[in-house]
Amino acid sequence: MSEPADLVVVGAGPAGMAAAVTALAGGLRVVLVDSGPAVGGQFWRHPPEHARVAIPTGDLHHGLREYLALCAALSAGRAAGRLDLRLAHHVWSAVRDDEFAVHAADRREAPRERPVVLRAPRLLVATGAYDRQLPFPGWDLPGVLTIGGLQALLKGGGVAAGSRVALGGTGPFLLPVAAGLAARGIAVVTVCEAADPRAWLRHPGALLRNPGKWAEGAGYAAVLARHRVPVRPRTAITGAEGGERVTSVRIASLTSDGSPRPGTERRVEVDAVGVGWGFAPQLDLLLPFGCELTDSADGNAVVAVDDGQRTTVPGLYAAGEACGVGGAPLAVAEGRLAAESVLADSGAAPALSRKSLVRARATVARQRAFARAMSMAHPVPAAWSSWLTDETVVCRCEEVTAGAVRAACAEGGAHDHRQVKQLTRAGMGWCQGRMCGPAVHCLAAQKRAYVPAERLVATPVTLGALAQLDE
């Protein structure tokens, strides 16, 4: 694509794909950037195009019809010279002067990296989310992964991380991962769901209005029943043991506040573990713009958008999980609405028919209601920190323990994760608090929504690449 672009979309997950396709349909020139080797994001994660025969993953996927339609539209856009698709490009910063400048490291030939600047008058951020983690004794043992990490290895590389796997945490995402592993012959020895499924009964409307979710859930339940995978409500993985690799987990029944019920703890032998407590939105590129945030029901701060997915910064749009965690169908619908706003704000005619637009709006409303109900039914257990011992590592990078974090709060007077960081270095390492941030936040400031720290760069870049940029 030689002419200047009208729109840069960062993130080629369900939200970014739908946004790019809608903007292309409206006649815009689009740059679509993603750090991964293929489009699809987390939900539709696939091996790179050339590897799909060697690594078959079709059986692990849902909504593939929509994915294939979006892929076809993206291919057509590239063929017509209107879409510049940049895979394996990691965006590390985005700034605005007279237009948006998106700085990326081209890592197609990693470890070599080449700096790239992508410019357009409008920017749409669809960077998704990552697993929210709560530390527990032994969570840093090899073989303990995030639940999304297990899924990413399976969907992206066809690899199961173990042969006897325990899953734990909360939320419907436990089920597809359990079902995917079980279908590949892995023994899923237990699925510990901390929540009480009866909590859903308080939100009957959200369930009734989303029959698709029921169908998907029933599909997983059938697979799990066929493979005799036990799903245990109101239980949690409260510890893991092992040396060079995890060899067992401790699981316990939970009381209503989430503390382990005395006498219920037992040990289960495993060689891999997956844990996740919902997701934390990926706001790295958005925070430096100073766009307004809002609290979402799951305890995360998310970027605030209007009913057309506009942030409070002119020309900056957001779609998908960065605006609140709610699954792929919500992300797709938000992507479409965001692109419609881009079209309208650029003075272009709408791409969607009136009917499709109404449908996308209805999907967003319905799915957001579902997401809200989901986060109420699957909260982070209030007493989760009772699983921690003073020796439990909370910040994996700087190896800061729960004892040190507690001392920073009790004796050092720290009231949030930033102050804890200054006192203990928790959140100061390589991951910049992406893994420990929500947990440290809970330990220091239970009641408020989690706002991640602003990070200078969204991905580390070499000085060499920065130097090239100056030239």
Binding site: H50, G148, G149, L153, R245, V393, C397, E399, R434, T462
Partner: protein, 84 residues
Amino acid sequence: MSEIVVDGEPLPFVEGQTVAAALVAAGRVAWRTTRVQHRPRGVFCGIGVCFDCLVRIEGTGGQRACLVQAVAGMTVTTGEHDDE
């Protein structure tokens, strides 16, 4: 199957896998030790967020094994320290 070279030893992988996927497929879940407590670490988040999986690739340190696609003949050095 193609091979990468991990610490001097050939490691088979399926075209399309990341370096982390190749290691995990071979049964390895740890390939680094932490700076303070010297604890073993490997893949955790699988999507480039946690930096637990650092390796040296073709001599360049600080590479996330879960993000880098394995390429035949690629040399990978494990035991990467996180302060490099």
